[in-house]
Amino acid sequence: MRFQIDDLPVIFPYPRIYPEQFQYMCDLKRTLDAGGHCVLEMPSGTGKTVSLLSLIVAYQQHYPEHRKLIYCSRTMSEIEKALYELKALMEYRAKELGHVEDFRGLGLTSRKNLCLHPSVKREKKGNVVDARCRSLTAGFVKEKKEKGEEVESCIYHDNLDLLEPHNLIPPGVYTLDGMLKYGEDQKQCPYFTARRMMPYCNVIIYSYHYLLDPKIAERVSKELSKDCIVVFDEAHNIDNVCIESLSIDITEDSLRKAARGCTSLEKKIEDMKSTDADKLQQEYAKLVEGLQDASTAREEDSFMANPVLPDDLLKEAVPGNIRRAEHFVAFLKRFVEYLKTRMKVLHVISETPPSFLQHLKDLTFIEKKPLRFCAERLTSLIRTLELSNVEEFQALQEVATFATLVATYEKGFLLILEPFESDTATVPNPIFHFTCLDASIAIKPVFDRFWSVVITSGTISPLEMYPKMLQFDCVVQESYAMTLARRSFLPMVVTRGSDQTAISSRFEIRNDPSVVRNYGNLMIEFSKITPDGLVIFFPSYLYMESIISMWQGMGILDEVWKYKLILVETPDSQETSLALETYRTACCNGRGAVLLCVARGKVSEGIDFDHQYGRTVICIGVPFQYTESRILKARLEFLRENFRIKENDFLSFDAMRHAAQCLGRVLRGKDDYGIMVLADKRFGKKRNQLPKWIAQALLDSEMNLSVDMSVAAAKKFLRTMAQPFAQKDQEGISTWSLEDLNAHMRKVRFQQEEMEKMQVDQADEAVNGNGREEYEISDEEMDEAMMKLG
């Protein structure tokens, strides 16, 4: 269907559109026109991706600037899904317009997923694939080959050099599978095709990390122009992604490996000195001039790029004391030894980077400045030494990155040394956490560089939290309600058991038998009435384990057995995927099953329970984070001091976004239906922190239910859901055809005109009214004057 938003013709690949989709597109266009950032929340399962893509593609094709779209998503499957949507959209556009547009859309993912090399692609681990691929494709391999030396290289990669560099792949949209197929046919490497073609693409779809993780972003995303439109989809966890990308954990083991790396580097340098001293001298000469020159040599094969280094640093020359290779290795060695001694301390330490640097300087005479250049210097050295088995140096690279970060940032980071794993452990197993506390540091370059950044998700409430945490200003900030022809999902807050005792996962009472029994009863009752799948979320693995064992003792599990299969998520991903498989089978064949999982686990984030896979979701307890964690405490303090976000506000916000994520799992579209149960007394006060579309469906009468009342409500709900529901009942209400849309637009226009008219009238009235008043006053005055005269 085709329609206009203001002056922009939009082609939407379906015959019907949801009202919220239309709204979403309007707001998106407003943002793009204004050239700012926006935060949009749209209910899950209402076609967010397709409306986003169709609007932006229309925008690209209509305006002469052809602003590029960078679409970032979280998981592989979401990337793949978005690519399919884009492909379908472009096919529809071609049909509608009658000609194929010159358009290129590519997805990028790791080498592991895109490799075609017969032996490399068989490797299981991602970093092994990366390492092996680099050893076959690095620049020096090619050089050596040209010199006529016998070296192994990748034919798929070499074939790329025979093609025109800006036209490695014909225009069109390629899904990841499509890329692999094309690569196989043409014998060219899909991974490098995608990477080299990025500057020539209209749409790029990849993972967050390619833009946020400074180690990767520098390499992959640096050529993107300023007017790109950046979209972060499923962005409710974006602050955590940012923080993770700049945080480093160092263990004793990694230090040992780093020390080993130092030793072998030393040996390599010795070797090189005896065979090819020229090369080292060349590197040295280059470094005298500055990193900038060295970095021009940085190509796609460089094994690591610097973390967000300020520009001035890149232009500056490497400090003299780490210029020579052997000096630098000694420097690294000293730093690693220092870290080792720090690890021996047996009490918890938390300190800021300046105090760490001071101590470092006192003990080992390592200055701040060379430390800042550490990562870049190591990259350069490894490139010079032509090392291909970079795996060996991974730990060392991590240490170097740590060194650079600690010397670059004074604020927003904290070093925490935890010598014991838990409070009761007596055998030390120290971990040195270098944690980023400020989510805005990693994302700042993105906001600085691109004019329009769109942050969107199904559950991203409260919206104002994100601009605050990530430090940006947004033009549009909108949350959409869900238009429904019937009430297709039933959110409820259960606060009491059938015996009227309050239920809560509050720490003090979470293991009370009465609370556990009431939660058990809730599960039994819902397993009786729910058709097919029932998903239950717990706040943590620990609590889940304890509550399940108590249920076993109380005979609750035996009771549930009668109605449904019970499956449990574990931290082990393979076990979990087996459980999920079984769960789906049980749901499909009508037996039905209960899946017990954890609110911050894998299941809660990436897996959909649409239709029969999830008819009821129960959230047992508010999924707060583990508040005793030192890292969390430090972050809370930072947020309070710098962004004025109170501890409790943040914790509650974080818990509620995870709860909303869990609830959102069950409803994936308008023809889907499901029950959402929030089982904790404390949910009663948190209603306004839920996404708008859930909060609006939550009636006041269902805010404070006991177990039996909730069961009654659920029964009634399921009975209405069992009534036949035809497609045409939705027409005009929750789905619009073109006529409905046009009617709506007419109405909006009419309303606008009305408003304008009203305003004009009001203005007129105000003018007239004033006049009249004046007249009256003067009348009165006249009267008075007359009286006086009289």
């Binding site: 400090p319 003299g320 004391n321 000694a330 080792k340 021996k344 300046p354 080992t364 005479f365």
Partner: protein, 360 residues
């Protein structure tokens, strides 16, 4: 019961202590006496920066209590003293040694970037220093390097001192700043807690008042009154707290400068005070001024007498002596113990200021 817990606590403490000393290997053996950690769980290893040979504490006691003696390690002929033995900081003995060398080098080679006209030269200097260190460590051209160090030391004596002072001062400043930040942090935290507590209290109070108001005869009026009161109170409190927050913020900004200026004053280091032989006694007179000429018929002749003046007699000197003698007792109080002290004299100044005309 308490005894058990204390003993377990001690055990844990011991285990931790062991873990500290362990340094990676559980069954380490002292290379001198061959005693292992199994036999002596509290064994500690020490090194001497002369030769960096590791030995256990008891060996050190045994061998070096009687005074300096030779290192027990075969082939090492260094003479060691007990005093110099210390605990090893780094696991790698090479690094331990390196750090010692660096400590020495850092004392001499402490030039700063400001001392060089360009960054490139500074970097060259840094590399030079690094090379010197490296040579010392790996015993390459020891003699030449040592000579280089001494030469550098000789030629840069003053700048070395200066830079050392600068570095110390910077460190002091950083420390002070950190302390101050901590203090400020604590105070803001306190204030925030206070705000929270008072808000909570207010809410509770308001609730209680409301309930009481509802019990009254005409609840509407009472409730309105209570609400108004609460609003007033909370706005007053907020104002007060905001003011405090502002003060705190201002304090944060101001003292930073103070630190700076204080430190700078220390840095300028006023020239050493001049030696004062009379110990602060002030010779300048405060009670009178000299005139050029005093009318006295007795002296008029002398003034005009060329024979007297030609001999070098200065009438001015005579005047001065006479006036000084006349006033010499003023300001001295016999009862007062510290008559010379400026403080004791000060009050006199005020009544003397109209400067007594000594012409009388």
């Amino acid at each position: 019961m308490p005894s058990i817990t204390s003993s377990t606590a001690a055990a844990i403490a011991r285990a931790r202590e062991n873990a500290i000393n362990r340094g990676g290997d559980a069954d380490e053996i002292c290379p001198v006496c061959k005693s292992s950690r199994y036999l002596n769980p509290n064994m500690r290893f020490l090194v001497n920066p002369e030769c960096y040979h590791k030995m256990c504490e008891s060996c050190v006691d045994r061998l070096f209590s009687q005074g300096p003696s030779q290192c027990p390690v075969v082939g090492c002929d260094k003479i060691l003293r007990k005093q110099k033995f210390r605990k090893q900081t780094f696991e790698d003995i090479q690094v331990e040694r390196e750090v010692d060398v660096r400590k020495r080098i850092a004392k001499t080679f402490n030039k700063r970037q400001e001392d060089f006209p360009s960054l490139k030269e500074f970097n060259d200097y840094l590399e030079e220093v690094e090379t010197v260190t490296f040579n010392l460590l790996n015993s390459i051209d020891i003699n030449a390097t040592e000579a280089k160090i001494t030469a550098f030391e000789q030629s840069n004596k003053s700048s070395i001192l200066q830079n050392a002072a600068k570095a110390a001062q910077e460190q002091q400043f950083a420390l002070a700043q950190r302390e101050f930040e901590k203090e400020h942090h604590r105070r803001t935290r306190e204030l925030e807690n206070e705000i929270e507590a008072s808000e909570k209290r207010e809410r509770a109070e308001h609730k209680a008042n409301l309930l009481r108001a509802l019990e009254a005869d005409n609840p509407d009026a009472e409730v309105a009154k209570v609400n108004k009161l609460a609003r007033k109170k909370s706005s007053m409190r907020r104002e007060h707290q905001e003011r405090r927050a502002r003060e705190l913020e201002a304090a944060r900004n101001a003292p930073a400068f103070q630190f700076m200026s204080n430190l700078n004053r220390v840095a300028e280091e006023a020239p050493p005070e001049k030696y004062d032989p009379v110990d602060g006694f002030d010779e300048t007179n405060r009670y009178f001024v000299y005139r050029d000429k005093y009318e006295s018929p007795w002296l008029d002749d002398t003034r005009n007498n060329k024979a007297v003046l030609a001999g070098g007699y200065l009438l001015q000197q005579y005047y001065e002596r006479a006036v000084f003698e006349a006033f010499s007792g003023v300001g001295c109080f016999i009862e007062d113990p510290d008559i010379e002290g400026g403080e004791a004299m000060a009050p006199l100044e005020s009544f003397d200021t109209p400067m007594i005309d000594s012409s009388v």
